[in-house]
Amino acid sequence: MKHSAREEEWADWLRMAMKGDAAAYDRFLRAVTPYLRSIARRRCDLFGIPTGEAEDVVQEVLLAVHLKRGTWDTTRPIGPWLSTIVRNKMIDSFRRRGRHVSVPIEDVMETLEADNRQPGLDRIDVEKMLAGLRDPQREIVRSISVGGEGIRETAERLKMSEGAVRVALHRALKGLAVLYRSEERADR
């Protein structure tokens, strides 16, 4: 797909997502992820970093895109916004792993091929991440991510209101970002 068409499509999806359309958001994130993976893996190849680290970086970047999506001015093109945020987070994420990489700014929108290979083994131990959260955030994250439950089912099971589950989930995601940031790597 042509670069500009892709950019239009992503912008539409994210715009709808920000108004609360979860299906559009799912399309957006699943469309962006292979490109992020492709950039991250290329950085790994180029700088001699084990490919396994790429997926951690991808996740961290996704979380940053998520938490900072309110800074996208929806009347502006999405490309410069996304490219800048991805570049900054990627450099930051690699740096905290003790890797110094450069990521050219035009990389994201210029990346032509998406990497659709299966992601490598996930290296961030989910239980260890969850241990950094408090209940009910931990239970909510577990039931939605690992258990595949929806907001409503989770709310019913935990005897909480759906609104409270949503608020707790949002806080949990902020908490996860902090955990990623502080995660000590043994394999440095």
């Binding site: 997502a17 920000m18 108004k19 609360g20 359309d21 979860a22 299906a23 559009a24 958001y25 799912d26 994130l29 699943r30 992820t33 997926e55 991808v58 996740q59 996704l62 979380l63 940053a64 998520h66 938490l67 900072k68 999506r69 309110g70 800074t71 996208w72 001015d73 502006r76 490309g79 410069p80 916004w81 996304l82 490219s83 800048t84 945020i85 900054n88 992601p119 996930d122 961030i124 989910v126 991440m129 994250v141 939605i144 991510s145 690992v146 595949g148 929806g150 907001i151 949503r166 989930l169 949002h170 995601l173 970002a177 940031r181």
Partner: protein
């Protein structure tokens, strides 16, 4: 965690409640109000402010601080938004800078040299630095809070810009009381106070604006 599981989580949190622009504007409005009320309960407004504001020096002082507050806030807003060019906003800072130079040069031209020093020192230089710093606490808190929702590339720089904007906002408020009107006074003590707040902002930003 699998990336798919993470995406599952993120889609359940799709809607954005408050955009950064909105948070930013609210932060400025609320903190400016707090700062203004703080001025009213501590120093109060200048006597006959309305007449004084029609004299060239007071009009210059108020106009300059307002101009710096507007241009400084623009930089602070833009520095939080990835992919938005900062250059136009930085260039706009030349407006208050040029205004200040013109003000100072005109003052030097119309005031005899013997009066330069007393004009510069004014009556309350220490109070000016103290109160501009004090009045900047609310805007600085508000702007750092707002920028924490944003994604600045360089946390210390973003903090410094937040400090500059906060110092300028506080200067606007203090100018409604300040009895020292010479542009020489403004160029010295107002700028000193704003520089102080800018440094404080840089230190805070370095700690608080990482994301």
């Amino acid at each position: 965690m699998q990336t798919d599981d993470l995406i599952q989580l993120l889609t359940k949190d799709a809607p954005v409640k408050r955009r950064f622009n909105h948070v930013f504007v609210t932060a400025i409005a609320v903190s400016l109000l707090v700062s203004f009320v703080l001025l009213l309960i501590t120093l109060g407004l200048r006597q006959n402010l309305l007449q004084a504001a029609q004299t060239p020096r007071v009009a210059f002082k108020i106009g300059l601080t307002v101009l710096l507050a507007i241009t400084g806030s623009q930089v602070a807003l833009r520095i939080g938004k990835p992919g938005v060019p900062l250059r136009p906003a930085l260039l706009a800072l030349a407006l208050p800078a040029a205004a200040l130079v013109i003000g100072v040069v005109s003052e030097l031209a119309v005031v005899p040299a013997a009066q330069w020093e007393p004009s510069l020192v004014g009556r309350y230089p220490a109070a000016c630095v103290f109160f501009v710093s004090l009045l900047s606490l609310a805007p600085l808190t508000g702007l750092i809070y707002a920028l924490r929702q944003a994604a600045p590339e360089n946390p210390a720089k973003a903090g410094a810009v937040a400090g500059l904007a906060s110092g300028a906002l506080a200067a606007c408020v203090y100018a409604l009381h300040c009895p020292d009107d010479s542009p020489l006074f403004v160029a010295t003590w107002y700028l000193a106070a704003i520089a102080l707040v800018t440094s404080a902002g840089a230190l805070l930003g370095k700690r608080l604006l990482r994301w």
